[in-house]
Symmetry: C2
Subunit: 242 residues, 2 copies
């Protein structure tokens, strides 16, 4: 029975039974985090690599004036940077959004595994590239999209990512993000998020309520967002030599 991490990596590279076993071992003893608990804080010295197995987390930063900006969502299956611990201090925090279960893989473990399992290494590097693509897409959204386009675009992204981890049923999936969290991620105020969600609902594009998102009209949603899934790199280069 494989977890979300394995499922996600399997989308990015061909994994042998042996590879899967190694991943099982390394994620066997996750740690539980409470809602709003920090996995690591800005300024802390980086430690193990985090892999979210269950629940959601986010990377965030608090400005001097108290405003918060979320820079990435980590959903089940997502890991954070491989090489962080070359740095002396974290430049941002990572926080559980709801209760979450997180595997913590030491640098040594990680290195051994990637050395012994090239396919895993390949998948991890690819995942990292996709994460960078997502960051760039966020920059584009914040810079050049209107609020309704921004919200629609994020929902398209999260839906596809959730589907990649096998977390969607049909047109619906669990999205445990409050409007406050969405506001912090999209650089808006909660009240404006609320109005935009209403507009999207009335337009018949999507409906977000009580922790789950329903895509009412995928075509319309994609069109509002100006969404192009290129950057998620679901179609990878075939047979990459290491």
């Amino acid at each position: 029975m494989s977890n979300r991490f394995i499922k996600k990596l399997a989308n990015l590279a061909e994994l042998s039974a042996d590879d899967r076993r190694a991943l099982e071992i390394v994620t066997a003893h996750p740690r539980r985090f409470a809602a709003r608990q920090d996995l690591i804080r800005e300024g802390d010295e980086p430690g193990p690599v985090f892999v979210v197995l269950d629940g959601w987390a986010c990377r965030y930063k608090i400005l001097p004036n108290g405003l918060r900006q979320i820079m990435a969502f980590l959903m089940p299956g997502d890991a954070c940077d491989l090489h962080v611990n070359m740095l002396a201090a974290m430049d941002h925090g990572i926080q559980a959004i709801g209760p979450a279960s997180v595997a913590m893989i030491s640098r040594a473990q990680m290195q051994a595994m990637m050395h012994d399992h090239p396919a895993i290494a390949r998948a991890m590097y690819t995942a990292q590239l996709v994460d960078e693509g997502i960051m760039r897409a966020w920059i584009v959204s914040m810079g050049r999209r209107s609020s309704i386009e921004r919200v629609a675009h994020l929902m398209c992204e999260l839906y596809l990512r959730a589907r990649g981890a096998g977390m969607t049923q049909d047109t619906e999936f669990a999205l445990p993000l409050s409007q406050i969290i969405l506001a912090d991620a999209l650089g808006m105020t909660p009240v404006h998020i609320n109005r935009v969600l209403k507009e999207l609902r009335l337009a018949g594009a999507m409906a977000l309520r009580r922790g789950s998102l329903t895509i009412l009209d995928p075509v319309k949603l994609v069109q509002i967002a100006g969404f192009d899934e290129n950057y998620l790199h679901r179609r990878l280069r075939q047979a990459t030599a290491i």
Copy 2:
């Protein structure tokens, strides 16, 4: 006589004479690009790793409606992602801003060099982490800073990065970016950029003109920007094992 790339990497790891020689070789035959010429376009298959030796470039994306968003500046010494060619297609373009000189290092060359020169590998990975930190800082800026804060923050960043590559003299450095380019990078309109630059000039914080930026009052500029240099990781972890 070492180039900007070597100078930058030397800030990130202890480089031996041998390491430096390897870097010299691999950057010995740069290619020249004209202003506005693409190094690579969105949709293209990724090829060699680019290293900007002279001039500036930017990562960018054009939206369906014709708007452009710049997601990163590459100044002399900067390289682009190590592992890109695991992906089938670029999700963004890279373009020279003015005339530029760019080394193109093949995957094979890069891998051999990083294998034979662990210090170079370390420096490259660290540079990559810093670049990610910069992207996150841009997200924060776009989401939660006012236009004047955003401009001031970018200038602080560019000044420190330029200094790291030895490209500043005292309080001034060459910044060959038009107001149009700045607008595309900061998610604003050129006319508003213009007004903000005027405001910063009148406030006695900084003056940008004719391709060069003068910091008039560093303290004031940093204060306006709410700038915290953490994310550039100029203080690295000591003696990192690989």
